[in-house]
């Protein structure tokens, strides 16, 4: 039993039709409920809910404050490698892109760590492409051992691994793993991932199950917005979240909603999502699930991020570099995607404080994971 079985019970077209046929009264029912179902979530992400954006935002803000208080968590990505054996039509690191490939050595990682630490970070997100010959579980073990003394919390966004591999990494200080399905539309997934291990839709789909079985503290889900109809894809994300919460009840969850960003020679989004629609989605996720963490990266603009921290988002990055070596080793190399908000962590922290929130740099301790 895995999410694959649950997933098989829902057809993309039926779900899409249901979302687009939701009415104003469905939205009102969802807003006034005390516990919201997946049907309510469909109403909240439907076109009919666009007219309720302000009440949704007020409710989302209120629910977020109750659960998370007046705080915003700070994290930063550390790109370790851009080697990749996958072709992904939307990604700067895709195998068919002519970029110089690099995987950071121990010394280089420590140089990057030094810069990140000087910005004030205690939570770091390790990012790689998928190159199983060089960036494999032994590499990750080496990196975790290397950086464990420097950070309070370590997350990873790398290729999906097997359960026993996660079980090896968790005791070394691995707190959370992000694995985005990109799209739950199977045919479209195939088109965007024609080559490499990532072409296997089901292996990716069952990754959160393997993480849950391995006992991970936190995992992150999401889709890449722009590949397919965002409403339908977001419904499947919510379905996945609900399944996981029931099945792996000892794990915390976070959601991201990255919008496709341009890179040189890359894919134009098939489906555009407006700022207004992204706010609707953020509020819908919060109203549907009061406990889930919502994360917003530097892909989004200054103005948008300034406002979104008050609407339901609970963690953000700042000062990010999306190229391996971007902080110290090789700042001029090609990035995975273009950053939109280029303010420094100190500037972002000031913005957060001015909005009446406290930026939280440390909310974990590696010593809470026993190494035995």
């Amino acid at each position: 039993m895995s999410f694959k079985d649950e997933f098989a019970r829902h057809s993309w077209d039926t779900v899409k039709e249901a979302i687009y046929s939701k009415t104003a009264s469905d939205v009102e029912k969802a807003l006034s409920a005390t516990k919201r179902s997946l049907e309510d979530f469909k109403a909240l992400i439907s076109p009919a809910a666009a007219a309720y954006l302000e009440p949704m935002a007020k409710l989302s803000r209120q629910l977020t404050r109750k659960r998370f208080g007046n705080t915003i968590q700070m994290y930063v990505p550390l790109y370790l490698s851009n080697e990749c054996t996958n072709i992904c039509t939307y990604c700067g690191f895709s195998l068919d892109n002519k970029v110089r490939r690099r995987t950071l050595t121990n010394d280089e990682i420590l140089r990057e760590v030094e810069v990140i630490k000087s910005m004030g970070y205690e939570h770091v997100l390790l990012v790689t492409g998928e190159a199983n010959q060089t960036v494999h579980v032994e590499y990750f073990k080496k990196v975790l051992n290397l950086i464990r003394p420097h950070f309070a919390q370590v997350s990873m966004e790398v290729q999906p691994l097997d359960r026993d591999e996660y079980e090896e990494l968790i005791p070394l200080g691995l707190h959370s793993v992000l694995v985005y399905q990109e799209t739950y539309h199977q045919d479209d997934y195939r088109k965007h991932h024609p080559k490499g291990k990532k072409a296997n839709f089901n292996y990716r789909l069952e990754t959160p199950d393997r993480l849950g079985q391995a006992g991970i503290h936190k995992m992150g889900l999401g889709v890449l917005i722009g590949l397919e109809d965002w409403r339908t894809d977001s419904f499947f994300t919510a379905l996945h979240l609900s399944y996981l919460e029931k099945t792996y009840w000892q794990t915390r969850y976070s959601l991201s909603f990255p919008r496709l960003r341009p890179f040189s020679g890359g894919l134009e989004p098939k489906v555009e999502m407006s700022d207004r629609e992204l706010v609707q989605l953020i509020c819908a996720y919060r109203i549907f699930n009061e406990e889930v963490e919502l994360s917003l990266s530097t892909r989004e603009s200054e103005k948008f991020r300034n406002h979104c921290i008050q609407l339901g988002v609970t963690s953000i990055s700042a000062g990010s570099k999306t190229n391996p070596g971007g902080y110290a080793v090789e700042p001029e190399s090609l990035e995975q995607f273009e950053i939109s908000d280029e303010r420094s962590p100190a500037e972002i922290a000031r913005m957060i404080r001015n909005a009446g929130y406290e930026p939280v740099w440390k909310d974990w301790d590696v010593s809470l994971i026993l190494n035995d």
Partner: protein, 255 residues
Amino acid sequence: MLTIADKTFQSRLFTGTGKFSSAKVMEEALLASGSELVTVALRRVNVHDAGDDMLNHLTHNHIHLLPNTSGVRTAKEAVFAAQLAREALETNWLKLEIHPDPKYLLPDPIETLKATEELAKLGFVILPYVHADPVLCKRLEAAGASAVMPLGSPIGSNKGLKTIDFLEIIIEQSKVPVVIDAGIGAPSDAAKAMEIGADAVLVNTAIAVAGDPVAMAEAFKLAVRAGRMAYEAKLGLKSDLAEASSPLTAFLDEF
């Protein structure tokens, strides 16, 4: 005056340090609350940094720190975290929190009992956070807990004393102080908890996310004091029954 283990407290309002909009607001609110016992999550403080912002704002003679183990999922992790906290914060007091369920943060009774047994042997003053389970509270007392901290409703829910019937049993049976923790959403909830005989309450979210946390902290201070006074003054019994105007047994006197 309330005594727990080796310490006495003038104030029966314990507070938390999470969710405030800044360390400064937190400090002002805690001072306004008059609280003398303040819980701090080990995960939030940088124990290797003498300049830790949160800890610096808690340096007041009357404020004792109560480190908590929030984030651990098992007894084993809790025991480890407790030792770390004792070393870093230089206190053997501990709020034992083991909630493997990160959604509702409900405490694990089995792991909590195991950890209490272990930690008592290691000389900790243990205040375990538990469900409002009277039998579990007696078991914890026997295992060496210095107080018990049953919940009123889920942490952060502001729903008040949903477990009141069980809290009353716990208060009736307990030989150690009972601190009602979690779910207290308004000063009236805190007053109610004190009226039914709780020894203290712990409040965090309701103060931290209030429009004016400092004023709310003071409101809680007054409510806790009023509730305690009412408890000590002995409340009149409540009655839903109206007195029958002609007593049902009056006929017995008619002969």
